[in-house]
């Protein structure tokens, strides 16, 4: 197998992610969208705001699975994966908050209006930031890994009701699809043209998230081995 073919085999999914995201930029900005009252052309932000949450959720789920795996088997690699995926999840969560605030400024009149979903998303990001601080706050790495794995499970369990259950229960959310409001899927029922951009964009950003997390994990691994050698 040639050198080029080997490289293509290793990197095809990264190239796919780049193509999907550039496609979402083009189709998202220049493609046709359904016309809705207050939202108007800002509905295009759906292609850039929602994929950030999809990516964040994927990162947190992988982190949660690795935290459980660490508690089961005690492998250091699981703990490293859990920490790095949570970090990348927080990064995408913040991107989600910022893209949402920009959108809210145009449609709701203010970037932050104490919407239950906004508050829930903010709280869940804060809980994961606390997790990242907790990981660094113990001198004993094994103890830190165990306690932070337990906290990771707690943070994941708290995040689901904060973002998905509470806004529906409270009933006064401004978000589409929450608190009795009609979701965007209702307006895209006829031709699914928004889905043709949204899903590729989400897949592209998830792949980019996994790529960033992998780079972080590989770096953490090198750092860990070098630290171990220094201790020995």
């Amino acid at each position: 197998m040639s050198n080029y073919a080997i490289r293509m085999k290793q990197h095809w999914w990264k190239i796919l992610a780049v193509i999907l995201i550039i496609y979402s930029f083009g189709a998202g900005l220049m493609g046709a969208v359904p016309k809705m009252g207050v939202v108007r052309e800002s509905i295009r932000n759906l292609y850039y705001h929602l994929p950030m949450w999809f990516t964040m959720m994927t990162m947190y789920t992988i982190s949660f699975v690795n935290a459980v795996a660490y508690l089961n088997k005690g492998k250091v690699s699981s703990d490293q994966r859990a920490g790095n995926y949570a970090g990348v999840g927080v990064f995408f969560g913040m991107l989600g908050i910022f893209t949402g605030m920009t959108w809210a400024n145009f449609t709701w009149g203010a970037p932050w209006s104490n919407d239950p979903k906004q508050v829930g998303a903010g709280l869940s990001i804060l809980s994961y930031l606390a997790y990242l601080v907790l990981r660094k706050s113990f001198p004993d790495t094994e103890k830190a890994a165990k306690i932070s794995a337990v906290y990771n499970i707690f943070a994941f369990a708290i995040m689901i009701p904060l973002i998905y259950v509470l806004p529906d229960v409270m009933g006064d959310s401004l978000h589409p699809g929450a608190g009795g409001n009609v979701g965007f899927s209702e307006y895209d029922k006829l031709d699914h043209r928004m889905r043709m951009v949204l899903y590729p964009a989400a897949l592209g950003w998830i792949l980019i998230g996994v790529w960033i997390a992998q780079l972080c994990i590989r770096y953490t691994r090198i750092k860990f081995y070098l630290e171990q050698k220094l201790i020995d």
């Binding site: 193509i19 496609y23 189709a27 900005l29």
Partner: protein, 78 residues
Amino acid sequence: MRNFFILGCMFLLVLFPKIIWAQEKMNPIEYKAEESNKMFVVFLVISVIFLGIIIFLFSLERKIKKLEKINQTINSNQ
């Protein structure tokens, strides 16, 4: 060579999203956005910034690979 051709075709599709919606009727607001070409400029600028980030990620990957190789040689020497 074939992979390059496939990638080239995909990029062409990406660069010309109108091909995908060629049969669609557009409303006047969209016509204005399309005619001014401003959206295309925005698209180009975002794409260039995004490609810059991707190049940075690839360069990071190369650096990490080098570090991993150094780490491996240290391990095998010991």
